[in-house]
Amino acid sequence: MSQAGTSGESALTPEVKGVIGATGEKIEASLPWGVEREGLRIFTQAIMDPDPRYWDDDFAKTTKYGQIITPPIYCTYLGRRARPGSEDPVTRAFEENPESDGIGGVRTPEEKGGLPDVPTSLKRILNAGNEIEVRQYPKIGDHIFSQARYSNIRESVAKDGARMLIVTTETTYTNQDGAVLCILRASQIRR
């Protein structure tokens, strides 16, 4: 692994370049019963969006969508939910560390659908911004699948001369028919 940062060496090593394009397994993001109304109600109330396209069947039939839809990026949150029968991530987090920040049980790269670690000594991670592209709204009963890949990794130099990596992960969400619903491109600074 390279010792990049302030050493003057490029952080964009051959090993780092080697993971560009790495693609995770396609996994089902939705729970086994697919997109359902109660989860949709909880989500839309949490974003304070009372749009009847999310709950009024009669009205939804009159729209161009012809049925109940979900918010533009609803599908990107489905994979965060603990699957029934799985180990409780909250209990696990606090068993591992009583002072846990509460996210000790989140998915790790070794888990299903994850990507390999970027082989760099740059450990500090900052959010560099996101892009969301919406193609289609999920509908009730849909099964949502996600697949992540490193779409780009480039080098940048900070004002203090430190070399950084900008790592962009593109996650594509599709439905049971393979239709693209939404693409999320999340960029992180590694420095």
């Binding site: 989500f43 974003i47 749009d51 918010p71 949150y77 603990a82 920040d101 509460g102 959010n127 969301i132």
Partner: protein, 170 residues
């Protein structure tokens, strides 16, 4: 905030009706409370304590208060664009960065200003500067967006939306 009835009866914004420099109708949310943040954490099962455990946020993490989630902001911007496009336009894409923290007591004004417009394959593409401005005039989530609006007497925006080849990113 917009009501269900306002969204049900929303009149179409047409490509012909927007011009560069135009400020689109804002969406005002707030003042936010710790309960709003807790509700979002529960909705998406984000158990990071900085969003709902005030003692942890302040005394362990050194933050001024519990913080609004980046994921919440990430959901509000597309919701705003969706509202602008109703009933027949399309909120195609948005990019943004997380800047100033949002904490309980803050009121957020989601805004959009037209920066460019062009036609492609009979559809009206409108580029926007967007953001989520706090009550003390600090920008929390600056970004750019592209929405697709129908032309008066033009063809409907197809659904599912497929971007023109010239503009497609994938």
């Amino acid at each position: 905030m917009r009501t269900a009835e306002e969204l049900r009866d929303k009149k179409q914004l047409y490509f012909d009706d927007v011009s560069v420099g135009q400020q689109l109708p804002p969406l005002v949310i707030g003042p936010l409370t710790p309960t709003h943040l807790f509700r979002w954490s529960a909705a998406i099962e984000n158990w990071h304590r900085i969003h709902y455990d005030q003692s942890f946020a302040i005394y362990h993490e050194g933050l001024p208060n519990v913080l609004a989630q980046g994921s919440w902001k990430q959901s509000i911007l597309p919701r705003y664009l969706k509202d602008l496009c109703l009933p027949d336009g399309w909120p195609w894409k948005v990019t943004f960065q997380h800047r100033a923290m949002i904490v309980p007591g803050d009121t957020v004004t989601v805004w959009g200003t037209v920066t460019n417009k062009f036609e492609e394959e009979g559809m009206g593409f409108v580029e926007l500067d967007v953001g989520m401005r706090l009550q003390y005039d600090v920008e929390s989530c600056p970004g750019k967006a592209t929405i697709v609006l129908p032309l008066k007497n033009g063809k409907p925006i197809p659904y599912p939306f497929v971007p023109p080849k010239k503009l497609a990113t994938k």
